[in-house]
């Protein structure tokens, strides 16, 4: 179901992935969650102008701006889990990451530091749209940077401390759970080089 009667002033959560602050480049790469579908899937409905139109989906890509349910923010690890559970449950849809680039100067200076890897910001839709288009169209840092500075768009970019903490805890949880499954489990982990007694698992199934 897609409903086009949503708030146009959506602010999209983006996650700082890598900060470049050199003479050649002063830009930050940020990722965002998308919902994807690459396999044909029946029984979908598009709600447009309060009318439902059934369709057979042959592809989908959309930006995720809020967790499932009524909550607006990803401020707890559980909301990330709910997102993945809700979208990936039936195997047709999945959550993916994509990226945009933003000039470092756009990031708010309230914390008096450059953005750091793992920081979550909320970006206005106009600024996001520009970054999204430029990502593929600009073939040099200079062009990208100039276009950001030339265009008169609302440069809405707000640090989201609660979502930064929520993401940090969620990531820590992933590492901890995965370690428990394999690294710290002698029954399942790959053998150490000094432990040549243990048979290697077959590569192909």
């Amino acid at each position: 179901m897609f409903d086009n009667n949503l708030d146009n002033d959506i602010k999209i959560p983006i996650i700082v992935d890598s900060v470049k602050d050199t003479e050649l480049c002063r830009m930050t790469r940020c990722t965002y969650f998308t919902i994807e579908n690459s396999e044909p899937a029946p029984n979908w409905t598009l709600r447009i102008n309060d009318m439902d139109v059934g369709f057979y989906m042959i592809g989908l890509s959309g930006v995720i701006h809020s967790p499932p349910g009524d909550s607006q923010f990803f401020d707890t690890p559980e909301k990330y889990n709910q997102l993945f559970d809700a979208i990936e449950r039936n195997g047709t849809l999945y959550v993916e990451m994509n990226d945009i680039w933003l000039p470092n100067e756009l990031f708010p200076e309230n914390s008096k530091r450059l953005p750091r890897r793992g920081d979550v910001f909320r970006i206005g839709s106009d600024l996001f749209n520009l970054a999204y288009v430029l990502k593929d169209e600009a073939n040099s840092y200079e062009i990208l940077f100039d276009r950001f500075n030339q265009l008169d768009i609302p440069q809405v970019l707000v640090f989201s401390e609660e979502e930064t903490q929520g993401l940090l805890y969620w990531n820590e949880m992933q590492i901890k759970v995965n370690k428990g499954l394999y690294h710290e489990n002698p029954e399942t982990n790959l053998p150490k080089k000094e432990d040549s007694q243990k048979p290697l698992p077959p590569l192909t199934n």
């Binding site: 050199t22 990936e88 690294h183």
Partner: protein, 274 residues
């Protein structure tokens, strides 16, 4: 005859690398190291689909077709698209680097744990014995067993060798000078292919004003650069000049598109094509 083949795909920027091997019985093995596919350009995924069709291989007959998928480190230009690739092809193994801050890549850890398309997943280091890819031996040179993750994610990159008989191919992720202090002396003398680290950036190839790894790399090795030219001017002209001055043979994805390096365990051939 056994074959090892490394294909560096031109995906515009970032790394997408296919590893193929064939043993002397004709069995085919395939792995993916990093991907920078995006929702608008599933280049690696579609390239592999078409390639397998060309070979007459139906990957859908296998639950876990890929022998392994590797994320060298947790940066988006190396991890984007891996989920879709694992979802499409399935993989026996998903290997990743050690990092204390997975940031946006926690998505992959979560997926690996929950999906039936991934049979086994694990962070790896130089203490882990990895299964062979057909007749190709895989050895991790970095990160070091027991070391805490580096604060610079590039330096969590997995650096590894692929060995078929007498020939070594070396893949380097985005490892920078701090890694090369340890790894450069470990570069095997029979290395015939060396992936230039960090897209040919200064930090990947220089330690101050000195070459970080070049002096330890055999002069006859072929160098491959997966470029990042659209964003930061990678490769850096100083790095290119370093290779020119050393008379090293190099190809770059922004000029030569897909780079193919193939060995029978004795010699190396290189191809590039649009």
């Amino acid at each position: 005859m056994s074959i090892l083949r490394v294909i560096m795909l031109d995906v515009g920027w970032g790394d997408s690398i296919l590893i193929e091997s064939e043993d002397d019985q004709g069995n085919y093995y395939c792995a993916v190291v990093d991907s920078n596919d995006t929702n608008r350009n599933r280049f690696t995924l579609n390239f592999l689909k078409r390639r397998l069709q060309t070979f007459g291989i139906d990957y859908r007959n296998h639950r876990h077709f890929l022998d392994f998928v590797m994320l060298t480190h947790g940066h988006a230009d190396h991890g984007q698209g891996l989920k879709a690739i694992m979802q499409e092809f399935g993989t026996s193994q998903f290997w990743y680097s050690k990092s204390s801050n997975w940031s946006s890549m926690g998505n992959l850890l979560s997926y690996a744990r929950r999906s039936s398309k991934v049979d086994h997943h694990q962070a790896i280091d130089d203490g882990i014995q990895l299964p062979d890819l057909g007749e190709v031996q895989i050895d991790v040179l970095w990160p070091i067993d027991g070391n805490a993750p580096e604060s610079d994610e590039n330096n969590n990159s997995i650096v590894m060798t692929l060995t078929l008989n007498n020939v070594v191919f070396l893949l380097s992720g985005d490892a920078e000078k701090e890694v090369w202090d340890h790894v450069a002396p470990l570069i095997p003398a029979n290395t015939l292919f060396f992936k230039v680290p960090h897209h040919g950036s200064v930090n990947g190839s220089f330690d101050g004003s000195n070459p970080a790894w070049l002096n330890n790399c055999p002069g006859h090795a072929e160098l491959g650069i997966s470029c990042h030219v659209g964003r930061f001017g990678h490769p850096d002209q100083a790095v290119i000049q370093l290779f020119e001055n050393s008379s090293m043979s190099y190809l770059r994805t922004d000029h030569h598109y897909h780079l193919v390096y193939e060995t029978d365990g004795q010699n190396i051939q290189r191809f590039y094509h649009h």
